[in-house]
């Protein structure tokens, strides 16, 4: 085998990282790659950088899967900057004085923020908006500032303005051009955008040319403009555009454009055949692409070309970079903004259609070709719903309907908006531009069984970066399922032609309280192991009656029927509630004594409770009688219900604790204990941001801050870990509980059967913003209703085990045999580490009929 190809990659930003992924996929061996990264951490999502201010950590933003850099033939050097290239010797010199030889060199150096040469720009508390370190410094300064100014009213500038606003600062945006987002938006759009941004409390100053920054009188700085006006501020963020990082290429005469950028060909090669440039530092056909999607495309092209140097059997002709579409859609400070293609109608003969509603603050512009047949571009402010349709029509050169203006006009009565028939899209149509996913790929994944948007995201990566294509992807999924003859339904099972959400609604609105009534009125047949527990769970969520009432008992699966967790050998485990993980020594001793007396295997759970294993059906009431007498309640470990609320010791004991996390955990656990839901619910409360209770891995988690409680939702550990997202911050106790009430009840109303909050959230159209609208802003106007429904459940709580052991009728069911008091002879335990464990089949065969540990009386 030949020597591996030595590759040096300069830069580990988003595009540099994409290159590594592409190379790893194409050539898992045969490459020897060294990556130089001048930042102290590997690649992170710069597109989502602003979410750092809403609670995302550097770790959340990371784009590097765990273990990625641990593979052979790949070395990452952090804090290592390339300082020189010697093209004749083919080696790179680093800031640490090392020289690295290469066969192929890739420059993915990105760009740097442009700071206008204004005197005073070097003053303290003047920032740029590019790296996590920049944001950390801004956060620090924000804490001791009252007023903040962003210089630059482009896309990034408005994001920075939102960050300042969120820090509670009086915020100004200063723009040199006559309008905001001058590149993407025209005058009309800029006006509406400005009104919307100002309505959010940000002051916009256009046509302002800063001439100097000096000491302020009331604030730290005074900015003086060319028109002699002055603005005083405590901190300044420069966001006045980007410039390519091409200094290495300049020094080694690789060819740069007149206004910067490393000149590349269609294979992303510079004029040196062994040196490539990709991303924001590259200049293709005189253009620099400051968006991530074209950068990713360059990474794919470059990786394919390098891989072709290590021949394998799949020797396809490597693809070429042929330019990229610069259309974008984003939400800026909650305002939808989209720009497509030729937004300024610069194409000769282009015709323009404009719709403005200043009352609703909506601006839409459609640019069509001279013959009126094709979309050339457009601008959408305030309502960007048409973006997906217009983009696909433009990119695929699809012929427009005869009256294209209806594409942007509001759909009044009777005038249905012509929707894009997804069938009309060609197979090659790129649906997700961030991850280059075509219609054909999405349809193939649907045919392979991805029948929910969550599964489709996992299978294809479509919609996993910016999320802009999710509505179109969903439309495609439904169309393809229909085409395959798959009924596009989420019917619970053959007995009910309804989704769980619909069934919930029918039960609540119709005040249905029994399964017989439900199936007579809305279903058919006798029910099954799918719909019966689902109905039982909804009855409990709505009416909260004793789950073992005679007409409910037959609906419960084994765990709920015996109020314990069935194990592989048919025995059960018992988990009493230990709210917040707090337990007195006396109660701890009781647990030990009960476990010892009944010979139960004892283990501490991940949720700060104690699990007792190995009880047979007939033992359960005996054990629970002793536990109830000692003051224990059911822990509902057997139910699709609230499980535990884990906590750290909080401010009571901990040096770092901000608030009393144990008291809050107790309050939450006692409030929601017994709450039945579509699936189990876990929670935790941490007393400070050190997060010892791991609240961000829970269905809902609470973290104390200096200003109150932060509420995180829809996290998950387990099979598919998902970090919880910040729903609301700095809450007082009462507001926190109100939001949790609403969040839980909304989940209970709308989730599918056995759908955890994390999957529910991934499938929720509108995502986190929608959830905030419902829970925090009460956009649906159901807040009070959800709270009342929760109040009913909370008010009717009763310990199920206490009720069970008080009912002779229920107790009679806890027998291994209806006609004998004998134990099940097939349950055999052996000793291991001084406790019992179930015997293996071999051990059972050996001990047949001679139980190693005899049944306790």
């Amino acid at each position: 085998m030949s020597d591996p190809l030595r590759i040096v990659v300069v830069g580990n930003g988003m595009v540099g990282q994409k290159l590594l992924e592409e190379l790893a996929e194409r050539r898992p061996s045969g490459l020897d790659i060294t990556v130089l990264c001048e930042e102290p951490r590997p690649a992170y999502d710069r597109v989502q950088l602003s979410s750092f201010f809403s609670g995302k950590t550097a770790e959340d933003l990371s784009l590097v899967p765990p273990g990625f850099f641990e593979r052979d033939g790949l070395v990452l050097r952090l804090n290592a900057k390339a300082v020189a290239i010697d093209r004749s010797l083919k080696q790179v010199t680093t800031s640490t004085g090392e020289t690295l030889p290469y066969d192929k060199l890739v420059l993915a150096t990105g760009s740097y923020p442009f700071v206008p040469p204004v005197p005073g720009r070097e003053r303290p508390d003047c920032f740029v908006y590019r790296t996590i370190e920049d944001l950390e410094a801004m956060t620090e300064a924000g804490g001791r500032s009252k007023v903040g100014v962003v210089v630059g009213g482009g896309l990034l500038g408005l994001e920075a303005a939102k960050a300042l606003k969120d820090m509670g600062l009086e915020t100004h945006v200063v723009e040199f051009a006559p309008r905001l987002m001058a590149v993407q938006v025209d005058d009309g759009g800029g006006r509406v955008l400005r009104q919307k941004i100002e309505a959010l409390g940000v002051t916009v100053h256009t046509q302002k040319n800063t001439v100097e920054i000096v000491d302020g009188e009331a604030r730290r700085h005074a900015m003086r403009f060319a028109d002699d006006s002055v603005l005083e501020t405590d901190m300044i963020v420069f966001s006045a555009g980007i410039r390519p990082r091409d200094e290495l290429a300049r020094a080694s005469e690789l060819g740069v454009g007149p206004r910067g950028g490393i000149v590349i060909d269609n294979h992303c090669r510079t004029l040196d055949d062994d040196i490539y440039a990709i991303g924001e530092c590259a200049l293709w056909d005189g253009k620099i692409y400051g968006l991530v999607a074209p950068g990713y495309e360059m990474a794919r092209v470059c990786a394919a070309h390098i891989a072709a140097a290590v021949p394998q059997e799949d020797a396809d002709e490597p693809p070429q970079f042929t330019g990229a579409d610069m259309s974008t859609k984003l939400k800026l400070m909650g305002v939808d903004v989209a720009s497509l293609g030729d937004a300024h109608a610069a194409t000769p003969g282009a015709r323009v259609c404009v719709y403005t509603d200043e009352r609703k603050q909506v601006y839409k512009k459609l640019v069509v070709s001279e013959d009126g047949k094709y979309v050339l571009g457009g601008v959408l402010i305030g309502d960007a719903e048409a973006y997906g349709t217009l983009l696909q029509m433009m990119l695929n050169r699809m012929e427009l309907p005869p009256e294209p203006e209806f594409l942007i006009l509001p759909s009044g009565d009777g005038a249905a908006r012509p929707a894009l028939g997804v069938d009309a899209l060609p197979d090659a149509a790129q649906i997700c531009s961030c991850n280059n996913v075509s219609k054909a790929t999405i349809c193939a994944a649907v045919r392979d069984g991805a029948h929910s948007i969550g599964k489709l995201k996992t299978a294809t990566k479509a919609g996993t970066s910016c999320g802009g294509c999710v509505p179109l992807t969903t439309q495609l999924m439904k169309a393809e399922m229909k085409r395959c003859g798959l009924s596009v339904n989420n019917h619970l099972c053959e007995h009910f032609p309804y989704s769980r959400q619909e069934l919930y609604h029918l039960i609540r609105v119709g005040r249905i309280e029994t399964f017989d009534e439900l199936i007579t009125r809305h279903g058919r047949g006798r029910g099954c192991d799918i719909c019966k527990p689902a109905a039982a769970s909804i009855f409990a969520s709505c009416w909260n009656e004793f789950v073992l009432k005679k007409d409910k008992a037959a609906l419960q699966d084994s765990n709920d029927y015996f109020l314990a967790n069935i194990q592989k050998d048919g025995t059960y485990s018992i988990v009493p509630r230990i709210a917040g993980g707090e337990i007195t020594p006396e109660k701890l001793i009781v647990l030990g004594e009960v476990a010892k007396k009944h010979r139960l295997y004892t283990k501490i759970t991940g949720g700060q409770r104690i699990d007792l294993f190995g009880a047979q059906v007939h033992q359960l009431p005996l054990i629970w009688k002793e536990l109830v007498d000692a003051g224990f309640e059911s822990g509902h470990a057997y139910g699709k219900a609230l499980r535990t609320v884990k906590s750290c010791v909080g401010s009571t004991w901990c040096r770092y604790g901000m608030l009393d996390s144990v008291s809050m955990a107790l309050a939450i656990e006692n409030r929601y204990k017994g709450l039945r839901a579509p699936h189990k619910i876990k929670s935790a409360v941490s007393g400070c941001t050190r997060e010892c209770a791991e609240a961000q891995s829970k269905d809902f988690g609470v973290i104390a801050t200096e200003k109150g409680w932060n509420l995180y939702v829809c996290g998950n550990g387990g099979m598919k870990p998902r970090h919880a997202e910040l729903l609301a911050g700095d809450l007082d106790d009462e507001t926190l509980i109100r939001y949790i009430d609403r969040f839980l009840m909304f989940y209970i109303r709308t989730a599918d059967r056995l759908q955890r909050t994390s999957v529910w959230r991934d499938n929720l159209e509108g995502g986190l913003d929608y959830l905030k609208d419902v829970v925090v802003h009460d956009k649906l106007g159901i807040g009070a209703e959800l709270e009342a429904e929760m109040a009913q459940v909370v008010g009717s709580y009763a310990c199920e085990w206490k009720k069970a052991i008080e009912s002779p009728e229920v107790l009679r069911r806890f027998r291994s045999f209806v006609n004998s008091d004998a134990p099940d002879s097939n349950v055999v335990f052996v000793d291991e580490r001084n406790q019992i464990r179930p015997a293996t089949p071999e051990e059972k065969a050996r001990f047949k009929g001679v139980p190693v540990i005899a049944e306790s009386a």
Binding site: H495, G525, R526, G527, D557, S558, N819, S820, N826, P841
Partner: protein, 121 residues
């Protein structure tokens, strides 16, 4: 006590009286010991119509004696019980596993006399 030494009426040799019909809550099952074997006995009620079924209690997929604790219902025309361990369905009338027809459980004869449930091999 154990099924082979049962008291209570038996109208025929080979029939074991296991319990009263009312000892089995509608649409649930119980486990009875019959001649040393564990038998899952189910009482299905639909529109006032009563039906009793008896099959082995042992779940061949988990080797645990649990089928009497499964949920009953119908899949199409078949009346079934779902194993609480790995959720396979078994036909109550034939004992056949719906998901894996190669696997079949023994069925037992069952009848009611004077409000008592009688089981025979």
């Amino acid at each position: 006590m154990d099924g082979s030494n049962m008291d209570g009426p038996s109208t025929d040799t080979g029939w074991t009286d296991v319990c009263a019909v009312d000892d089995i809550w509608p649409n649930t099952g119980v486990c009875a010991l019959v001649e040393g074997c564990q038998v899952a006995v189910f009482r299905l009620v639909d529109d006032g119509q009563e039906q009793l079924f008896a099959i082995d209690n042992g779940d061949p997929f988990s080797d645990a004696n649990v089928l009497s604790r499964g949920l009953v219902g119908n899949l199409g025309e078949r009346l079934v019980v779902a194993s609480p361990i790995y959720k396979q369905h078994f036909d109550l009338a034939t004992g056949e596993c719906v998901e894996d027809p190669g696997v079949s459980l023994r069925t037992w004869r069952v009848r009611v006399a004077d409000g008592r449930v009688l089981i025979a091999a």
